[in-house]
């Protein structure tokens, strides 16, 4: 009896501690999420009477070329950004795991851009990418590469934004370095005694043992990359010719320029479902591929 009383008290106290989170969850997440689902079946501009139109928005969405373009841009960006971010981050972490002099300074320099983000960075890179007077074309000119249009070129605008985001690879390096330093050195010593060469050690020790870190970077990076907004809003406004028209740009335009709140809610709902399904897919694959045993 005494014991169950104690347990009940502990439970009540526990609920009290997480109560602020739960209130916030209901008011700022679950409630709006439900409301958005409801809005997605309506035609509404936020002022006039709301009209229930069933699945009309979703049907319209499937035929909306602007929507498909925004989805394509976002998926292409996310795919290439994630792959390059993980490869470059991994390579740099391997190099930075070497015990050479001055490594603290190198790490500081590589991490620094990771803390810089938002509008100021977008402005800085917009000028850096400038076709005539930008420092990037100047640098390429030194090695004999002809001027690239970057943000004003339909084919280069999206790669430009990927390049800019890769500048902030520092956070990935930090996570990978922590993972590398968690690998017991005995494993490498044993492999060396067995005559394993470098490439073999990389594939059979380092990468399997790093899989939890890679998995983490993949999930977090994916969720963030699907929502990229500021860069396109500041640097290209989605152009040229919709080349950087991210999903979020389409949402912003539908919501705040065209005031089609019902239609925008349907778009937002689709984004949520896409993020949810792909994230679950990554988690599902990782259950077979990620090695948590030794970490």
């Amino acid at each position: 009896m005494f014991n169950s009383d104690l347990l009940r008290r502990e439970a009540i106290q526990g609920y009290l501690f997480i109560l602020p989170w739960f209130i916030g969850f209901v008011v700022f997440t679950a409630g709006p999420l439900t409301a958005a689902l409801g809005f997605s079946f309506t035609d509404w501009n936020g002022v006039s009477a709301m009209e229930f139109i069933g699945f009309e928005n979703y049907i319209q969405l499937s035929q909306d070329s602007r929507f498909w373009q925004s989805l394509k841009v976002t998926l292409v960006f996310t795919f290439f950004y994630l792959i390059l971010n993980i490869i470059i981050g991994f390579a740099l972490a391997l190099v930075m795991n070497q015990p050479v002099r001055g490594m603290r300074l190198f790490r500081t320099i590589y991490y620094l851009p990771a803390v810089l983000s938002g509008v100021a960075v977008a402005v800085l890179w917009a000028i850096l990418f400038h076709r005539e007077f930008g420092a990037l074309n100047w640098l390429l000119g030194l090695v004999g590469i002809k001027r690239v249009g970057w943000l004003v070129s339909e084919s280069w605008a999206l790669p430009s934004i990927i390049i800019m985001e890769l500048w902030r690879v520092g956070s990935t390096i930090i996570i990978f370095l922590a993972g590398l330093q968690g690998i017991p050195p005995e494993l490498y010593e044993a492999a060396e005694v067995d005559g394993a060469n470098r490439r073999w050690r990389l594939w059979s020790i380092t990468i399997p043992l790093m899989s939890p870190s890679i998995f983490f970077v993949l999930i977090v990076g994916f969720i963030n990359a699907m929502q990229v907004f500021t860069q396109a809003y500041i640097m290209t406004r989605g152009g040229p010719n919709y080349a950087t028209f991210f999903y979020s740009m389409n949402l912003y335009q539908t919501t705040f320029r065209e005031l089609r709140l019902g239609y925008a809610s349907a778009q937002a709902g689709v984004l949520f479902v896409i993020i949810f399904l792909i994230t679950l897919g990554i988690i599902w694959v990782s259950r077979y591929r990620v090695n948590y045993e030794l970490v």
């Binding site: 106290q13 509008v119 979020s248």
Partner: protein
């Protein structure tokens, strides 16, 4: 005879290792030095451009060293736009946002880390899964709700949610709380302290490094926040730096020096915080990432 062969073999083995190591170091520098220059390049360009006189900005090839060092470009930003007001606004948002984040998230983190109650693990999973909800899904209903509250054109829609625990920070702090030995709390409980007292007087002081880490991440987040103020703030006198800069780039698009000076001033506080607190910044990634 046998002995000498052995030493000789060992010698060449060690010198081979030494040579390999030297080769390794050389390769490391060969990658890291050019890479570091490349990473610094945009910032150097920003600094150089922000200090140039007008006529030197549109010269090609680029002249990196200004003829005259135009420190006045920075002052000019304050003349052209109310940059000082923007800075104060950003500071207000950032300070309250950081305090709110630490308040709500540490409470929830303690609840999840140290209590047993039915549904705890399910609720924790639910909290983590809300990280998948894109901000765009809740944006329209939230906007309507805040309009109904009469909160438009104020910082309340940005700041009030901060006090109700953010999943990322709650996760980070919970991970740390679980590593703190429970004996200290047990001792205080025997002395008759209640759980809130234990949380405030024992857990929080012991968790300073983790709180510092969470505070730094929240600082970067609120300092750079753009979408929410863009949507909720109409009054120019209430703009944070991010919205302020975005509203003046259309007007000053060709004035590179001014834009670079403004961007430089916006980026300086995060850089300073990074240099001062690099250790906590790195620890944050380690806490959140590796055991995640």
């Amino acid at each position: 005879m046998a002995a000498s062969t052995k030493t000789k073999g060992q010698d060449s083995f060690w010198s081979r290792r030494k040579r390999l190591r030297l080769q390794n170091h050389l390769l490391t520098y060969l990658v890291l030095v050019p890479g570091a220059l490349l990473f610094l390049y945009p910032l150097l360009w920003m600094l150089s451009t922000s200090l140039k006189p007008k006529h030197q900005i549109f010269t090609y090839p680029i002249e990196w060293i200004p003829d005259t060092w135009m420190w006045s470009n920075y002052g000019e930003v304050f003349n052209q736009v109310p940059f000082w007001t923007y800075t104060v606004n950003t500071a207000v948002i950032t300070v309250i946002g950081v305090v709110g984040t630490l308040f709500g998230s540490s409470l929830a983190a303690y609840g999840f880390a140290r209590f047993r109650f039915p549904g705890r693990d399910a609720l924790f999973l639910l909290m983590l899964s809300t990280m998948m909800v894109p901000i765009w899904v809740t944006l329209i209903p939230s906007f309507l709700m805040f309009r109904w509250f009469g909160w438009l054109n104020s910082y309340l829609p940005i700041l009030v949610p901060a006090f109700f625990a953010q999943p990322f920070y709650t996760f980070l702090l919970r991970q740390f709380f679980m590593t703190v030995p429970i004996d200290l709390e047990d001792a205080a409980r025997i002395d008759g302290a209640n759980r809130l007292q234990i949380f405030l007087n024992i857990m929080l002081p012991l968790s300073r490094p983790a709180l510092a880490t969470a505070a730094i991440f929240a600082f970067f987040f609120y300092w750079n926040e753009f979408l929410l103020p863009l949507i909720y703030i109409q009054d120019q006198t209430k703009f944070p730096i991010s919205v302020g800069i975005s509203s003046f780039i259309s007007e000053y698009r060709s004035d590179f020096a001014l834009m670079m000076a403004a961007s430089g001033m916006a980026l300086a506080p995060p850089m300073i915080v990074f240099f001062l607190a690099q250790r906590y910044f790195i620890q944050g990634f380690v806490l959140s990432g590796v055991k995640g």
